[in-house]
Chain length 505, copies 2
């Protein structure tokens, strides 16, 4: 009875969680199994669930419950489940209340139109057709950011945008990290280009039977230390992972009959996201603490499994029998070293989602810098294609042939998602810091991986990261996990080490 | 502006509809693709959606909107979309408000426990273990029925239970129909037994390759006049059909490697349900008029496609090449007449869901009569097994070996669903009346079916039945469709005709 209001708060937040999870299932279904004719009613169903969830999230009643529950907390520590719940709920409530309903509705409406316009614009490589939509999106995001005037910790307009994806991270902090990252990665790419070494990755391309790729992907996920009976793997167009609950994980992938990579590394990437959600302790389920809200930390998990496990020599060595078994005609005579080199080839290219793990970072930095210039009024939106192309030339030495392969390639700006891109790079950086700690604390982690023993690694991640769920903001979390700030050095060092093995640089 | 309140009502009802449809998707997923570990959070998600939907359904605000919208209706006719919407919404609101939240919660809680107890009790054929749960369910359903004291048209306590599945049908009316049905079917079963004719249905049993059965089921649904791109067929344990929207129909089935029947007739049955939902006009979507609420009428569609199309000679003749193609070793030498006779074999048996279409009705009548006796206090629950077994002997000449194969065979009473069973028989009866009209108005319907042309039949059903959606109660609807009351004669006549062909009676 002493915590009656806290219990009530927990139930209210549980309902809000249920509504979000239900929405996630409707979205998963839309992208996997929904019959195509179902799209219009589905959009209405998704909108209704989002609206009802939002009404509850901003309700006066929830605010009163948060206050009342807060009064019941007494002297529990900052990182206790209850204190964290109230703290995270309050911040979410305060943020959500800042934004008028009509502005939210307008953002949804306009970004939906913009996404359709973007699809056509990209198909025709016609930036001009997309420009008015982009302008409208930017204008609405400015109004959105303005709602947070005076919000604790927000100084720059862009802070408010960042915060939705990376709570508590400021523009200045992200700019510093991404600046360091650029300074670390650019010389490495130059050195690789100058090395004269060319990596032959043709073993990954050419015909790979779809059914065998599906078997492979299922087998690779089954070998991961994901809770048994708590996941599925399905096919979609744009791969994603979704947690219908921490015990109901939907990993999706696509398959390419002419490329083996997606059925290995894209699958491990999405499974990495799923393992994060799966590692959240039971006590935090059905609450805002159950689903980590920092996209950077989420991406650190997908990147860690994709790159530092999945593209490692011991992992590839361990799955080699399976690969040879499924594709004898393609890989029967290929050795692990060849696959390893192909998996870690570095080569500047046009498209972010197809980029290697080194040059990928510059794709992100370019976008982040352009977003900063947009919101600081240092660039006109109509000049974006030129700025994009100039920077691609400058950073990657790549000539952009048309806007479809340049400024129009990603959906994010059409969706109004400014502040999202940098989290991809933060994920790389954080993964590097985690991997450094892991190799210190589990010195034989690579031997484990080589024997297919992935439980020690998972348990380290659970113990050091997953168990916190969404209690902490990224800055607090990195401090707790590695005892320091976000720092690019471990990541850059790891990239250098791999490059030195392959390119001798 | 003249209908501002009506628009507002429509939007509120649209949200309630969305919540119900979202819930249907979560339930479909639970029974098809959900990883097993997801069950507990899923139950909470389902409960939350149901609770929020119900809160909105019984809200004062909805009542006020219904009144205000009603005042805007002016002189539109009874069967207009708007007048029907207000009428159906008002009845739903008035019914939902009658039941206190704590009683509803208790019914849900108790029936959930009862269902688990029933599973164990059935496994052990131990009626005594189930009895306390049954008692609790009956007691709660009595309290539920008592909430409707004085509700328009309710006289008998059982009327309130019936009404949830067959709105507006009274106990007396259903008893009269089912009494006529018993009188029509009993002599027919006796005559068949006396005919000395035995039908060999062994062609349907024995090994049928699963993959080929799946292909067959998909092909049979694809040949039905269901909207393209608006359905799926998936595998489950207990087959059902669910409409996530009228353009997103989820047909499910199970397959039996030793029996061909489910992949033909069970699939057609569920697809019949789906075609009903699919036939509701666009103007009624996202409203309480979109989903027909009479289970009897819904069952009439599944039965019509299953029995009067699917078990007919022309239909079987039409799919025979497919059957022979998929199962050459089993059906290569079997003629249509053999399949036709097997598909229409009549033989008393123990289990309702495995019963033939003639004896099936007595399984229902038995349950209906026992339910009436329960709620009229004419039987003690502990005496149900004896009463069941006596009636099985009396009606079907079958000895019940144990309660698992008797009174414990169905989940309905464990779920507290009293008043549900009779709708299965009403569905048979109504299907008979529809089929009679169809054969008059489309004299060559069987020739159509024999050529695989199912659109004229579907269009007749759309024009005469589906287009009304949920506007009318069963009594009104049957009057509109066939110009009379519910009447067993057409159905009994059709059963007799088929029996005379096969058994010469």
């Amino acid at each position: 009875l002493a915590q009656a209001k806290l219990d009530e708060l927990r139930e209210r937040l549980g309902e809000i969680s249920d509504l979000g999870r239900a929405r996630a299932l409707l979205a998963w279904d839309e992208h996997t199994y929904m019959p195509p004719a179902g799209i219009e009613p589905r959009s209405e169903q998704l909108a209704t669930l989002a609206r009802i969830r939002h009404e509850r999230l901003i309700s006066d009643e929830l605010g009163r419950l948060i206050d009342a529950a807060s009064a019941e907390l007494d002297s529990a520590p900052y990182d206790s489940d209850d204190v964290s719940l109230v703290r995270v709920a309050r911040r979410g409530w305060e943020k959500a209340r800042r934004v008028p309903a009509d502005l939210r509705a307008e953002m949804t409406r306009v970004s939906s139109l913009a996404e359709h316009a973007w699809e056509d614009a990209r198909a025709n490589s016609d930036f001009g057709a997309f420009l008015p939509h982009l302008e409208r999106n930017v204008e609405l995001r400015r109004r959105y950011a303005d709602c947070f005037e005076g919000f604790e910790g927000f100084e720059h307009e862009y802070d408010a945008l960042l915060d939705d994806f990376e709570p508590g991270m400021t523009t200045a902090e992200v700019a510093a990290v991404l600046g360091d990252l650029r300074d670390g990665v650019q010389p490495l790419i130059a050195a690789i280009a100058d090395s004269g070494v060319t990596v032959d990755d043709s073993c990954l391309y050419g015909e790979y039977r779809l059914a065998a790729q599906e078997d492979l992907a299922k087998e690779l996920v089954a070998r991961l230390p994901l809770q048994e009976g708590a996941w599925r793997l399905d096919t979609t167009v744009h791969p994603f992972a979704s947690a219908i609950s921490p015990a109901d994980l939907r990993i999706t992938t696509r398959f390419d009959t002419n490329y083996l990579g997606t059925s290995v590394w894209s699958v491990l990437h999405e499974a990495g996201h799923a393992m994060y959600e799966n590692g959240v302790p039971r006590a935090l389920w059905r609450s805002p603490l159950a689903s980590p809200s920092s996209l950077g930390f989420h991406e650190s998990q997908s990147r860690l499994w994709e790159n530092w496990v999945g593209r490692s020599r011991p992992y590839l060595d361990q799955i080699m029998p399976e690969l040879r078994d499924l594709f004898p005609e393609r890989l029967g005579d290929v050795d692990v070293e060849t696959i390893y080199r192909a998996a870690n080839k570095v080569e500047p290219s046009l498209i972010r989602v197809e980029a290697d793990q080194v040059t990928y970072n510059l794709h992100i930095i370019l976008r982040f810098e352009l977003e900063l210039e947009i919101f600081a009024n240092r660039i006109e939106l109509r000049d974006l294609p030129d700025a994009w192309n100039a920077r691609m030339r400058d950073y990657l030495g790549v000539e952009v042939p048309d806007d479809a392969n340049g400024v129009l390639q990603d959906v994010h700006w059409a969706d109004g998602m400014f502040g999202y891109f940098p989290t991809y790079a933060l994920g790389n950086v954080i993964a590097g810091q985690l991997w450094e700690r892991i190799t210190i604390e589990i010195p034989d982690v690579e031997e484990h991986i080589g024997r297919g023993e992935l439980v020690p690694l998972r348990d380290w991640l659970r113990e050091n990261l997953h168990r916190h769920g969404n209690k902490f903001m990224p800055k607090e979390l990195i401090e707790r996990v590695v005892g320091g700030r976000i720092d690019v050095q471990p990541y850059v060092g790891q990239l250098r080490k791999r490059a030195s093995e392959i390119y001798g640089v």
